[in-house]
Homo-oligomer: 365 residues x 2
């Protein structure tokens, strides 16, 4: 089921031994591996997986000068995989994340009702993402029993009947047990904190509310929202890192709100095994920590005009607003606004069947 | 702790045997019992509880002609208890809700990590409400690990530091296991559905998002938001019932958003023992089901002017907008707009120390 409709995108710089843990879940699917860093290095992929692998040379060859929009030496490069995929759905995951007996044990301990198979069968993260994407979202009113489409749940008293149909779901944002996704300052202050709280629910993030989207365990509908999932300019040669997924999340949420699409967060959890180095992270993040104080209000106030009826049009309009309103924070945002346009051009080139009929040329102001 | 700062308000038409189940938790607190229906009937309260009881005669005597704003033959009468309380916090609960071994068993089964005492000690719903009210809310940005102030949790990467202080929490909305709070149509369609999903989390409902507030298991800060907790005109002589708590929830959320106060939902759960009759409910609800399709968009679009700096001022302004915009749906809303003003007048009379210095007279248009 969905075998021909979903690709798994993995950015990496190392051998993909972690795939052994995911074998029963990932083997039926096609993998798109985006190799970051030195293209001369050989990445080993365990036998039996169906995959294609792109290194920097491949990216440069396929995109030509437009390859400039794909980050280097940063997992932001994963969005190249979204672009070359030909499937309807994408699941992307970091290579230090596991399903595995650790998660099952943890869930068994925290919440036995979730491990439905009493034999202790592993949780199927992918299956939960697919469920999330295939059932509607409810962004216009909060349901206090959470996902009304989950088994045994519904809309509560006082929920308007006209809103119960919901809207199509574009994004399913999964969470992490063990190492939480903290910023460097929080990592430094709380080096030993682990997330052990398994919250058995899926939420629609309400319209008008932004959230910090993490790329570690994320699925989305490429046809609905793919061109918004650009992970920005990070890493090598850029003044910022670790804001790639945040950037994609802000842009995507604003566009989903405008186009009446849903964004969910919650289940599934994956087991995040390893904390990254907080000192290195601080160096990557400090500009972002500073800039987000202006960037988030910018996205909170961003309004897209009515004639932005496709994701591409919305994204091009957003890039204009980024240049206009964020360019004054730092020249980096002008470069980013350019890259946003390059990304859309490259996307449409590689995905002619998904391109809207008339994309306005947004580069001229 | 908080013994002198919290009252428990219970609307009822029967003997309060259910209190036996709550004895260890409620006995330290003062109860305000609002007797609905025939005032000649004697309500028995188990021994050992510290309580005051008001029947309809008492309400008429205390409020005089202003008693018209308090509903009769509907649990909406509970809001009289909020008005006569002199405490900072209110916890209100229906008389068919239990803590009890049923809840513990259920939680033990669903989520053992919550029943912290391995001896199987009951969950303390009241304690959780107090925790919710004493810790800040975060309505301006969604935290994907949910309540950042819970033990073992924090703000995730990408959460703006300027928003981490949060805002004071005005409302703590608790949930229900077993019988879910469904409207009559859903009750009729799913008579056997039970809520067995224990979601171990507390959420801030984001700014700008409305929710269906249920009065079954609710706590709030009377000093922060008391005058907004008017449960409207329901029951005897009114064309609507079962929208009392919804009305209070819509008004309160709009006012909290305006005054930068927080509303939380989630834990604690109580065990809701008995489904009300869906046929009776349908008769009470049908106007509400119809009207809410216009009333909810009204509240979603309601804007309060800047000079509405107190709950009272906000509430009087809302009553004006109700008259203006909802009066055309049905004359009932004009009556309700009047009652909203009467409620504020009665509130200020009974709570002179909480009254704002200058309440504009909103009745003249």
């Amino acid at each position: 089921m969905l075998k021909d409709e979903l690709d798994i995108v993995i950015p990496t710089i190392r051998n993909l031994d972690f795939l052994e843990m995911w074998r029963p879940f990932f083997e039926p699917y096609h993998l798109i591996i985006v190799q970051d860093g030195d293209p001369a290095k050989t990445i080993k992929v365990p036998e039996g997986f169906d995959y294609e692998l792109y290194n920097r040379n491949d990216i440069n060859e396929i995109l030509g000068p437009k390859a400039s929009c794909i980050s280097f030496k940063d997992s932001a490069c994963r969005c190249f995989g979204y672009m070359v995929s030909k499937k309807k759905y994408i699941f992307t995951i970091d290579d230090d994340c596991f399903v595995s007996f650790l998660l099952s044990l943890s869930i068994g301990w925290v919440d036995r009702s979730v491990a439905k198979d009493p034999s202790g069968k592993d949780i199927n993260a992918l299956e939960q993402h697919i469920k999330n994407l295939l059932s509607p979202s409810t962004p216009f009113f909060f349901n206090t029993l959470y996902d009304p489409f989950a088994e045994g749940a519904d809309f509560v008293r006082g929920y308007p009947f006209s809103l119960r149909e919901g809207v199509p779901t574009a994004v399913s944002h999964g969470l992490w047990l063990n190492i939480p996704d903290y910023d460097a300052p929080t990592q430094l202050v709380k080096p030993l904190e682990r997330n052990t709280r398994y919250v058995n629910a899926v939420f629609t993030i309400p319209k008008g509310t932004l959230f910090p989207m993490c790329g570690m365990n994320l699925a989305f509908d490429r046809e609905l929202v793919g061109p918004a999932m650009y992970f920005g300019l990070m890493g090598d040669g850029q003044p910022i890192g670790r804001y790639d997924d945040m950037w994609a999340g802000w842009c995507t949420k604003v566009i989903c709100d405008h186009l009446r699409l849903g964004v969910k967060t919650g289940l599934p959890y994956i087991w995040h095994s390893k904390a990254s180095n907080p000192f290195v992270n601080l160096k990557k993040e400090y500009n972002g920590i500073f800039w987000q104080e202006e960037v988030i209000p910018f996205f909170q106030q961003a309004v897209l005009p009515r004639d932005c009826t496709t994701v591409q049009k919305c994204y091009i309009e957003l890039s204009k607003q980024v240049r206009e309103k964020l360019g004054k924070i730092d020249p980096y945002f002008n470069k980013l606004a350019d890259a946003m346009l390059t990304w859309i051009e490259a996307w449409d080139e590689l995905n002619p069947s998904l391109a809207p009929t008339a994309v306005p040329n947004g580069r001229q102001k």
